[in-house]
């Protein structure tokens, strides 16, 4: 009995360590995970775009490169908050040459906990890094006790990480060099995606960013009184400080939002002023584009803060003009 129990324990431990390494290896080699791709040190960008889904879906590096005459990479991630952005930026700088400028997307929503969040699972292959583990310890107290346990530190988020780990093993095995989104930009699908069901239009609201999401999300943005969150502010400041130590110029901006919604946000102005003074204290300016004609036309938007492709290009023209003037 004791012999069997010992064998069982040894087998479980051996399997746990072996699988732990396999999952780590797979996740580190998955080029579609931006942190892992950045960790491979293959990105050469002079302008880095950072933020949540709005810049992810609207800032096309290929288009912006032509305007700025320098390589651009989009490091934005869906539904990410400042802590998420900070760790991605930190991991990027750890393995790649520092960019000359950082385009950081910031809106009043960015400082309100009800919008976007910190996704600890995105950093699972980097738990050995003390800054990553400390940030997880601070922001995800449920996950924090698990990060020292072999295997469980990955399978805790099994639903999010098992498939990417397998995909990473495939990438390694096939010698893949470029991620699916080669410059990090996720293009609006120009045509109806395979997930669109023409017979039931409402289905599409969930799955296709090309289609109109207003019907889904008006309450998310309209009639809001924003609540300032100190942790968000801390991580915003950390991004600014990290950039400054690496000599990266930070351009903090808000892309155009639909004015029909923006004007219903009760303390928007106060928040903009607070963000502006925060940026000034860190030696940056806050560029707000809510005065552009784009903001007035409902047809330019997919959701209150996200522009359609044509409007995005117009915005990138304006943004690049202003950046070039700064140069």
């Amino acid at each position: 009995m004791l012999k069997k129990l010992t064998i069982l324990l040894l087998l479980v431990m051996a399997a746990a360590f072996a699988l732990d390494y396999l999952l780590y290896f797979g996740l580190s080699h998955n080029l579609n995970l931006k942190a892992s791709y950045a960790g491979q040190g293959k990105v050469r960008a002079e302008a880095l775009v950072l933020g949540p889904c709005e810049p992810l879906f609207t800032i096309d590096p290929d288009y912006l490169e032509k305007k700025l005459s320098c390589p651009v990479y989009n490091l934005s991630l869906n539904h990410s908050d400042f802590a998420d952005n900070y760790l991605h930026f930190y991991l990027f700088l750890k393995s790649n040459p520092a960019p000359k400028m950082l385009l950081l997307y910031v809106t009043p929503e960015s400082f309100d906990l009800r919008f976007n969040t910190f996704h600890a699972y995105r950093f699972a292959p980097f738990l050995a890094d003390s800054i990553v583990s400390a940030t997880i310890g601070e922001l995800d107290s449920n996950y924090a006790p698990w990060i020292r346990l072999p295997l469980l530190r990955y399978t805790y988020f099994g639903r999010m990480l098992l498939f990417p780990a397998l995909q990473g093993l495939k990438h390694w095995n096939s010698g893949k060099q470029k991620p699916y989104l080669s410059k990090g930009y996720e293009q609006h699908r120009p045509a109806v995606s395979p997930f669109f069901d023409p017979a039931r239009k409402s289905d599409s609201l969930l799955f296709d960013v090309q289609l109109d999401e207003f019907g889904n999300t008006p309450e998310d943005a309209a009639d809001k009184t924003f609540i300032w969150n100190a942790t968000r502010e801390t991580y915003f400041v950390k991004i600014m400080d990290l950039a400054r130590t690496k000599g990266v110029q930070v351009i903090v901006y808000e892309s155009p939002g639909f004015s029909g919604i923006l004007r219903t946000q009760r303390n928007r102005l106060a928040f903009l002023q607070k963000i502006d003074s925060l940026c000034n204290s860190k030696g940056s300016a806050y560029w707000c584009f809510d005065h552009l004609a784009t903001c007035g036309a409902r047809a330019n938007f997919i959701s209150p803060l996200m522009m359609k492709s044509a409007a995005s290009q117009n915005f990138m023209d304006t943004l690049s003009l202003r950046i070039n003037k700064l140069k």
Binding site: M1, K4, L5, I7, L8, L11, V12, A15, A16, L19, Y121, N142, Y143, P145, W146, L149, L151, L152, T155, Y156, F157, G158, R159, M160, L162, F163, P164, L166, Q167, S193, P194, F195, F196, D197, P198, A199, R200, S202, D203, S204, L205, L206, F207
Partner: protein, 462 residues
């Protein structure tokens, strides 16, 4: 959750050690049970003790009264029922499906289960089936015994007495057998039930219109989820009990293989059905004993009405009960007219009808019921035109490759489990130390378990 699991393993190991070493093993079990409840919610101890003391003394009162047995019984039963109603109403206001442990839910931990024991105790004393217990401690322990506290199985006092109060004899086989059963239950809960939970939630909590098939499939997903969740708990409770050398009754017997609704109810939540048969069905059908058909019919109506009420006060549970009343009444009529259907068809119809009824059971309110039944009965849009968009992407909560992978993995795990369930059950009850069995289950749980957003046990909400 990790810390809680570690605390529990530590608590269990200590309880077992003291249980087998102590001269007073029942005292150990008693204090372990109180400690367990106190850890979850100390206030729940007061409610549990209050109820147990009430039933204990009221039972003695009924037994000693010569003239007013019936009145005292009705009064005692009414008090217990009234209390159950009050807390069910409060739980309804809390929103049973919100998933968070509300103060009322924490206060009433196990109330639905131990209330049944107290009602049966009073009834059995009233009809002279048993004598009232002499020692209050024994009676309280039978209600508070921690492995069965949250989700059962439902046991009567005489069964609890037989199971709990024999002298403990340490057997290594009991520990091994208990561990085998516990690992099996943990696998069902952490790997299967919690993996299905977000998929069924996508159907029941979404506000967008669905194809009829998708909505009905949501019912099937919930049926599977609740089965793995509840039977997983029972496996763990039986496993822990076996470690103490205590045998609790089985609660499930492959219900998803039932070929009729009658068959299904003989295999699903068996201990509740036995309780309902003994204390609701037979006593009431006795009054209509002149006609076998009518006595069975009224028995079914009352039993399922009580079952619906026991699960929760609310029209959704009532509708669920009405569905099963209709199914059983139709089966009764078919049986009466000697109509028979092939077993395969019977199995399919049982699964579909049970899943349909579970749409009412799972729905948070009547609005959801209305929406989903409208979806199901919109026959022109019953089948998705695009299966990826109208079905896979809905239950997978998105259309990314990762979502499809999770759906495929869940489908594979559930199908394999159901295919080999009989053999797995037999192995889970084995008292042989199998390295391969424990290794496989520990590894499956570690790799495929859902830890980040696992749900509390569904039946702990009732």
């Amino acid at each position: 959750m990790l810390l809680e699991a570690l605390y529990f393993v530590f608590f269990l190991a200590l309880s077992l050690l003291f249980y087998y070493r102590s001269k007073y093993p029942l005292h150990v079990l008693f204090f372990a049970s109180l400690l367990f409840i106190a850890y979850l919610q100390w206030c729940a101890i007061l409610l549990l003790l209050g109820n147990a003391f009430f039933a204990f003394y009221w039972g003695r009162l009924i037994s000693t009264s010569a003239k007013h047995k019936q009145v005292l019984f009705v009064l005692g039963l009414s008090i217990l029922l009234f209390e159950l109603v009050i807390f069910k109403v409060l739980l309804l206001e809390d929103g049973a499906w919100r998933g968070s442990a509300t103060p009322t839910l924490m206060l009433t931990l196990g109330l639905s289960f131990y209330a049944l024991q107290h009602m049966a105790y009073l009834f059995d004393i009233k009809i002279g089936r048993i004598k009232p217990e002499e020692k209050a401690g024994y009676y309280i322990l039978s209600a508070a015994y921690f492995p069965k506290l949250l989700c059962g199985p439902v046991i009567t006092y005489q069964n609890a007495k037989k199971a709990l109060f024999s002298a403990p004899i340490f057997k290594l086989e009991n520990l091994v057998s208990g561990a085998n059963r516990f690992a099996f239950g943990a696998f069902k809960k952490l790997v299967l039930a919690d993996r299905l939970a977000p998929m069924s939630a996508a159907v029941f909590e979404g506000s967008y219109p669905l194809h009829g098939f998708t909505a009905l499939f949501g019912g099937l997903l919930f049926t599977l989820q609740v089965y793995f969740d509840f039977s997983g708990y029972i496996d763990m409770a039986l496993g822990i009990s076996r470690m103490f050398g205590i045998n609790l009754p089985e609660n499930f017997a492959l219900p998803l293989r039932a070929t009729s609704i009658t068959h299904f109810w003989r295999r699903w939540h068996i201990t509740l059905m036995q309780w309902l048969s003994a204390y609701v069905y037979y006593p009431f059908s006795y009054y209509f004993r002149k006609s076998a058909l009518w006595s069975a019919f009224f028995g079914i109506v009352l039993t399922l009405f009580f079952s619906a009420f026991w699960h929760g006060i609310g029209l959704t549970f009532l509708l669920w009960g009405v569905c099963h009343m209709l199914y059983l009444s139709i089966e009764l009529l078919a049986q009466h007219r000697q109509i028979k259907i092939p077993k395969a068809l019977g199995w399919f119809l049982t699964l579909v009808t049970v899943s349909f009824a579970n749409v009412f059971f799972r729905a948070a309110d009547l609005q959801v019921v209305y929406k989903l039944t409208t979806d199901i009965f919109s026959f022109n849009t019953f089948w998705p035109h695009n299966w990826l968009a109208g079905f896979v992407a809905v239950i997978g909560k998105g259309g990314e490759l990762n979502d499809l992978f999770n759906c495929a993995l869940a489908a594979l795990l559930v199908l394999l489990f159901l295919l080999f369930e009989g053999k797995l059950n037999a192995k889970a009850n084995s008292d042989k130390f199998s390295v391969s069995w424990l290794f496989s289950f520990l590894l499956l749980i570690a790799v495929l378990g859902v830890f980040s957003d696992g749900e509390q046990f569904i039946y702990a909400r009732f």
